[in-house]
């Protein structure tokens, strides 16, 4: 009898521990995910009326110039951040990995922008780029160079925003690279040194191959982050302008949903965005895990 009771308790217990988490995830991730698919095939205004319209939203989307320009901006943003930020993070990690005090101090300094909130960093850079009293134009003026528009110049706005985002985040990935570097046995470097390998060769033939999994991880995470976690800088720095040049997809979705009130259309954009990033990530993993990439 007692044995049976214990057995019955045994069966129900794991679900009790799991219950709250599953309820939250079901209600706030899985149910919204399913709702998003449904909404994307509906006409749905923010006031609440929902009626199915088939693939109308997708037809509108794929024939909208605004969408393509937003997608282009997002892809440019992603590619530049993935390449430039990953390279910078790796180079800096290689240079600051020693245990010396100066290097520890530098690591902490580089990390400060990571802990600042995105709102704070976005405002800081918005004003650094300010054409009247911003520091950057001030420096250019001081050097006798022409003042630039930066965020107000359509051809510079996206690049200016990218610079600010890399400034904020590179040290986060530097830390991940540092952890990866610690895993590489020092004997390998010593052996290479005895064989007369120069520093560049050591990096090329020991560090990079052994760091492959870490690099892959950083590239996949950065791809996702630079594509998706960019709402705040657009909201604070440019509002999507000038001339839509910084209207990144996440902001495009939000604008269509909450400024223009078209939830169906916004859901369709989100669907396309989700599929796009999923495919990009899968391709990256496929390439990264191939035996001799």
């Amino acid at each position: 009898m007692t044995k049976l009771n214990r057995r019955r308790g045994w069966i129900a217990t794991p679900y009790l521990f799991l219950g709250p988490a599953l309820a939250v995830i079901a209600l706030f991730v899985i149910y919204p995910g399913a709702t998003m698919v449904y909404l994307s095939f509906c006409k749905a205004s923010i006031i609440g009326k929902v009626s199915p319209v088939g693939i109308d939203n997708y037809v509108t989307l794929f024939s909208s110039r605004e969408f393509y320009s937003s997608l282009t901006a997002s892809v440019i943003f992603m590619v530049i951040v993935v390449v430039a930020q990953t390279a910078l993070a790796l180079i800096v990690a290689l240079l600051v990995q020693s245990e010396r005090r100066t290097m520890a101090a530098l690591r902490t300094l580089f990390f400060i922008p990571v802990v600042l909130s995105f709102v704070v960093v976005a405002f800081l850079w918005k004003f650094l780029y300010n054409p009247d009293f911003g520091l950057i134009d001030g420096i250019l003026g001081g050097l006798g160079l022409k003042r630039q528009g930066f965020l107000s110049n359509p051809s510079q706005a996206l690049g200016s925003m990218i610079a600010a985002c890399i400034w904020k985040s590179f040290a986060f990935f530097m830390m991940i690279f540092l952890a990866g570097l610690k895993e590489i046995p020092t004997e390998l470097y010593e052996a290479a040194h005895l064989d007369g390998a120069r520093p560049v060769q050591r990096v090329r033939f020991i560090t990079l191959p052994l760091l492959r999994r870490t690099i892959l991880f950083v590239v996949v995470v950065t791809t996702m982050d630079s594509f998706i976690k960019v709402f705040t800088p657009v909201y604070v720095m440019t509002d999507g302008g000038p001339r839509g040049r910084t209207d990144l997809l996440v902001y495009f979705i939000w604008r269509n949903a909450f400024k223009l009130g078209d939830l169906g259309y916004a859901s369709a954009i989100a669907m396309v965005m989700f599929v796009f990033i999923l495919v990009v990530n899968l391709v990256q993993l496929r390439i990264g895990e191939a035996p001799d990439a």
Binding site: P32, M36, L109, F123, L128, F133, A266
Partner: protein, 280 residues
């Protein structure tokens, strides 16, 4: 050979020095704005030592800030939300992780796979349907909208499970033989042993919430429930003229606590980052 390596290290040093300047200079410049008057700020058109040191240090901006915005309430609400999410998510995620790490039950692997897979559905993508659900639940302009969606995450469960899987089972088996039930095993044995992981995850969650902007700006319009990050943008959007000094006083007040937290808990934070990196 010697010459070459000293030239190389000189280049390294120069590169790092340049980067340190690029990180430090914007911070110092922004910091100085909080202590200047607006009249002084608009005169800063060139570069000089005064680009970084105010000509006359003033604290008036902070006085104006605390008059214009109820900073005490903003901080209070923000801390309430951040701490509630941190506490609840640690509890809910580690309970779920315990189930995955210490039980065999029907559907365990498939449920775990689904939970981990939800990591590819970030809030930015789900914001539209989430808005409808929050509205249906009557959570608009309620703190529940800021807290509940974050109480369980695929990442948190995965992270805690990985850590618990590394704890030897001997301890919980011994306790069970002594007649402890699973709740006692969880709360008295597993949770204390997970202290490092809990501090790490707690710090990650807290800073994420501190930084959270999309959710509060979308779901909360009531002034009395405004979170810190939204309050900063609110200072900016309600300016009749560009009151840069006031804005940067707000930025200063909001940024200092996180920097202080980071300096004290750096070890855990870095540990959290690196363990996610390796296990990814």
């Amino acid at each position: 050979m010697r010459n070459r390596s000293s030239r190389v290290s000189l280049a390294h040093g120069a590169f790092l020095a340049l980067l340190a300047i690029l990180v430090l200079v914007p911070l110092l410049w922004g910091l100085s704005l909080a202590f200047r008057t607006n009249e002084e700020i608009v005169r800063m058109t060139g570069v000089s030592l005064h680009s970084f040191l105010p000509e006359r240090v003033t604290l008036a901006n902070f006085e104006r800030l605390f008059k214009a915005v109820n900073m005490l309430r903003v901080f209070g609400v923000t801390l309430l939300v951040c701490l509630s999410v941190t506490f609840l998510s640690l509890l809910v995620n580690s309970a779920a992780a315990f189930a995955f790490a210490r039980f065999t039950f029907a559907g365990r692997n498939i449920i775990f796979a689904i939970v981990v897979a939800t990591m590819i559905l970030p809030i930015e993508i789900l914001i539209v349907p989430l808005y409808r659900i929050v509205k249906e639940l009557g959570f608009m302009n309620r703190l529940a909208a800021l807290i509940l969606p974050f109480c369980a995450t695929g990442f948190g469960i995965f992270f805690m499970r990985q850590f618990m899987a590394g704890i030897p089972r001997d301890l919980d088996e011994a306790a069970e033989i002594d007649g402890c039930n699973k709740l006692v095993v969880f709360s008295r044995i597993i949770v204390p042993l997970c202290r490092t992981a809990l501090v790490t995850l707690g710090l990650i969650v807290f800073l994420q919430q501190w930084d959270n902007f999309l959710i509060p700006v979308t779901f909360i319009s009531k002034k009395s429930l405004m979170l810190l990050q939204v309050a900063i943008t609110d200072i900016y959007s309600h300016m009749f003229f560009t009151d840069t000094a006031l804005l940067f006083a707000g930025i200063f007040v909001s940024a200092v606590p996180v920097i202080v937290i980071f300096v004290f808990l750096q070890r855990y934070y870095v540990l959290g980052i690196t363990s996610t990196g390796i296990k990814g």
